[in-house]
Symmetry: D2
Subunit: 134 residues, 4 copies
């Protein structure tokens, strides 16, 4: 589980966390998730593989949060396809769900071409992700 402490600069004039920032918190939690399962995202990049976001889906803003709140973020793998995998996120503020959302990712090689998830270059990634399917 990843924790994000909501900052003053992440709020807007409505007095709450701006909706775009949850997309950033998803990224924070994702980087931490990869780190925890032994897949350092930045190491990954050094090997010439990048993993761009290709989709953001089903984001539901259930309750507002604001500066000073602590968001507990759970990450899991929702699905693994042939070229993309989907991650899901649940964010809670003191046990109350404030946000749920999903991100979809593909893998690109040095040549900018899509690397299928069955490719041996990413076999260890795919194998690890499968263990975290929700």
């Amino acid at each position: 589980m990843y924790r994000h402490y909501v900052q003053y600069y992440e709020t807007d004039k409505m007095g709450v966390t701006h909706h775009s920032n949850y997309i950033r918190f998803m990224e924070e939690a994702r980087v931490e998730f990869f780190k925890n399962i032994g897949l350092d995202y930045f190491e990954f990049e050094k090997k010439g593989l990048i993993s761009p976001v290709v989709g953001i889906n089903n984001c539901r803003y259930k309750r507002p949060s604001t500066a000073g709140d602590t968001l507990d973020i759970d990450v899991a793998i929702k699905a693994i396809g042939t070229v993309t995998f989907t991650m899901q996120y649940v964010m809670k503020n003191k046990d109350v769900v404030v946000f749920t959302g999903e991100s979809e990712h593909c893998l690109l090689g040095k040549d900018g071409k899509i690397v299928p998830l069955s490719d041996k270059r990413v076999a260890s990634l795919t194998e690890k992700l499968q263990k975290f399917i929700a």
Copy 2:
């Protein structure tokens, strides 16, 4: 149509516009859209009505963009429900679609309660939105 000129600070170390910023560009285009149809969003707020984002859906990152690019953003109404309406966005960089996405919104009154779209307080809004259904 709304134009966003991509800024340096909106890119990330992958060299492209960070995916979270498109959610912000959607907001920029939405505010402009409301203004153009005679619904100044900030005036709206002064009347005690707020329109929070309750969902972000079906965002597809089709092509990267980067600092210096000009994004042309088309906005339309996808659907009007009983308590929420959904807006859709198509962003193009020199006629090539780079991003499509949707945002869902509800209306809240001064008491923080949901205002149904059939409510007379928002009749002019609902009526206007109906003209822009895609």
Copy 3:
């Protein structure tokens, strides 16, 4: 000491942390500093006092940092004037100073008027700040 783990979305296409984000890290460290000395900034606001930034000065970008880096941020009070106080920040990445900067703040009451630092309403704040003059 406050720690900030640099996020991917905080970098730019130059591959490093965008310079504007250090101003945000200053705020993060400042909020934590106030909390640590028993002055919860958000509680402070509930009492009707706000403390806007009136100046950002002497920011020196000495070394770049990037996503994955951990910044250790030291905060101290540089000076206390009649209506403003100045805070100073030193940010290190593995013991190497990457950034130093200063922020200047005043206090505003519910009426939007400046509250002098000698005012009894803010006596506990001024007293506490004096202990942390560098």
Copy 4:
């Protein structure tokens, strides 16, 4: 003169433009300034020269601004040194100055080494900047 239309996501819970964003508006105005004097910043980068911010100084937040406001930003060259040049910015909201600030920049070559402003590689830049000294 450059115009920035303040966005909702650029405000904070105090109801005003977050102070860190003015640093970003400075960058926007700077990029436009370079473009206008025939020095396309992004072209500049393609030639292997980068111009990082080495200092942010004397930023004064004189009046708040908020979403919906239009900021008119004037840019000028304050000083040209041997290795850095300093730019100054005045931002107005309907003719009222809301912010003034300065940024200091150096030039780095492909090797990451500082390029003196007297270097022939940057002669055209230095020459042009001199015309805009305030």
